[in-house]
């Protein structure tokens, strides 16, 4: 005989069939209701972006791509700000991932106060509210005439991307066997060889993940960027922020829909294709 006791103890249950039905609806319905709440803003963007009217609304007589068309016109400012964000994010990613990889490798090989102290310092941007950093860097950049310059924005983005890259690369390193170093060194490898030829090739997945995180962090960064830019360096988030604060232009829905489409494609590829091929 199998063990029915594992599944339930029916005699003890006092709930009525109705009560159980209500509980079931609650247990299944509530989570999906909340998931709907999470997904609702995503769904809404699509029809609003396709509206045939001049103002923010649902389509009335038919669907229209006019607001997407307006994105592609250089004068509307959407394309230039996309280019700006792309350039800044690309440079910030390369610099922050290189510095993060070097740091993660070095700190992994060390023990003592230096790695633990610097780790807290480097991860601080994850906890410290960005508004405080915005106040400080605004003051500093004003003093050095770095407000509204590319180097000014890129340096800030590098600093903000570092913790994500370090965490991603650190997660990759955590799976590495420390004896690898001893083996390499006892075979006579010099320190640079150990780092670049032995450890580094083993953390490429972490570096790739760190690069994705860094890029998205820079591409999306708004709080600090808002303070240190004005006209000369207008990133895409800054352009969107000004757009929302000034008016509710349907072009905003169109740009949002574009960003959404990119996110959806990347995620769909990951969740439904990559995960499936990975998991048994």
């Amino acid at each position: 005989m199998s063990a029915p006791a594992l599944h339930a103890a029916p005699r003890r249950r006092e709930s009525t069939p109705l009560g159980r039905a209500v509980a079931k609806v609650f247990a299944v319905g509530l989570p999906w209701l909340l998931l709907g709440f999470l997904f609702l803003p995503v769904l809404v963007l699509v029809p609003v972006a396709l509206t045939d009217r001049e103002y923010l609304s649902l389509p009335e007589h038919g669907l229209s791509l006019q607001h997407f068309a307006s994105l592609t016109e250089w004068e509307t400012g959407w394309l230039p700000s996309m280019m700006t964000s792309l350039v800044i994010a690309a440079i910030a990613t390369v610099v922050s991932v290189s510095a993060a990889a070097a740091y993660a490798l070095g700190a992994w090989a060390l023990t003592g106060w230096w790695p633990s102290l610097t780790r807290v310092m480097l991860l601080a941007p994850l906890i410290v509210p960005p508004i405080i950093y915005a106040v400080g860097i605004f003051k500093l950049w004003a003093r050095f005439s770095m407000i509204d310059t590319y180097p000014g924005v890129i340096i800030v983005h590098v600093v903000l991307c570092l913790p994500f890259a370090i965490l991603a690369i650190g997660a990759s390193l955590a799976q590495l066997d420390p004896r690898l170093i001893q083996a390499a060194r006892s075979l006579g490898a010099r320190p640079p060889t150990v780092f670049y030829k032995v450890i580094l090739p083993n953390v490429t997945p972490g570096i790739a993940a760190g690069a994705v995180f860094a890029f998205v962090t820079s591409w999306d960064e708004i709080t600090v960027t808002l303070f240190i830019t004005s006209r000369a360096v207008e990133t895409l988030p800054r352009r969107i922020f000004t757009g929302i604060a000034d008016s509710v232009d349907p072009a905003l829905a169109a740009i949002s829909a574009v960003l959404l489409a990119v996110t959806l494609l990347a995620l769909a590829a990951r969740t439904f294709w990559f995960d499936r091929s990975q998991s048994p």
Binding site: A102, Y103, T118, L122, P129, I131, Y133, G136, L140, A266
Partner: protein, 279 residues
């Protein structure tokens, strides 16, 4: 120092230098300015503590942050608990619905909520169209809108944190409880909830801290009517140029966050969560 260690330390230098010069220094400067601008002394703090406007902003921040944290954690637990119980194929869909908003820009989400909640927005279109209310509801540009937007921003983080914790719990404990005659409710409250305490604690800490210093969503969805600390600081810098007030309030926010982290780290559940993640 051995040559190998020297190399290792050398590798850490660029990142440490970048952060020291361009992160730690500017923040240290904020702390210094709060006691030197416009004149040395604690005048800024006296002014902050005596100000009605600041008191109101701090109260708003605390109330909104507490509501956001409570609603986010409750809702996220429901979702995370359901995720663990789902069949893998269904779970993939549900996780997808959590991850999409997670990866979408905070600005895009705020914009989308404005289109949903504003006077001529979708919700009001629906409720007035169906004749449920005569006057459109005031759902955005007030505290309700800010809290909806903030809960929506925080939920994916909290769901993923709690889900990671719940998924790691040994399910045989629940089977044992059930076979010993515990009712489903008892299993939930006496087994699931205590075992997921570390996940709940970490999620609560992060959501509360993020809420305290949140700028974008309150600014866009509050539209100047629900002003939280971050927005107040930003106005002091960009409009009224009161650096003493801005840096003083920033320092107080930093101290508040530090205090919350310090208190949280004294809880065994949180220490376990963080040490568990490290090892």
């Amino acid at each position: 120092m051995r040559p190998f260690d020297r190399w290792a330390v050398g590798l850490t230098v660029p990142a440490v230098l970048l952060t020291t010069l361009f992160y730690v220094l500017p923040i240290a400067q904020v702390l210094v300015l709060s006691v030197t601008e416009p004149a040395p002394g604690l005048a800024n703090y006296e002014q902050l503590l005596g100000s009605r406007a600041v008191a109101r902003v701090v109260m708003t921040t605390l109330e909104v942050s507490l509501w956001t944290t409570a609603l986010t954690i409750a809702a996220s637990y429901v979702v995370a608990y359901a995720l663990v119980q789902m069949r893998p194929s269904v779970r993939r869909v549900a996780l997808f619905m959590v991850l999409v908003p997670f990866w979408i820009s905070v600005l895009v989400r705020a914009f989308s909520w404005i289109t949903i909640l504003r006077r001529e927005g979708l919700v009001n279109l629906a409720v007035t169209g169906l004749g449920i209310v005569d006057e459109p509801l005031q759902l955005v540009h007030n505290r309700t809108g800010v809290i909806i937007g903030m809960v929506h921003y925080m939920m994916p983080f909290a769901v993923l944190l709690i889900y990671a914790n719940l998924a790691g719990i040994d399910r045989r404990i629940m089977q044992a409880g059930r076979s010993l005659g515990a009712r489903p409710m008892t299993v939930f409250w006496k087994l699931w909830v205590p075992l997921s305490a570390p996940g709940i604690a970490v999620a609560t800490l992060f959501v509360f801290i993020f809420s305290l210093g949140f700028l974008i969503t309150p600014t866009l969805l509050g539209a100047g009517r629900t002003v939280m600390v971050a927005e107040y600081i930003s106005v002091q810098i960009t409009n009224t140029l009161r650096w003493g007030v801005a840096t003083g309030l920033s320092t107080m926010l930093l101290v508040a966050v530090g205090f919350v982290v310090f208190i949280a780290m004294r809880q065994p559940a949180l220490r376990a969560a963080f040490s568990g993640r490290q090892g």
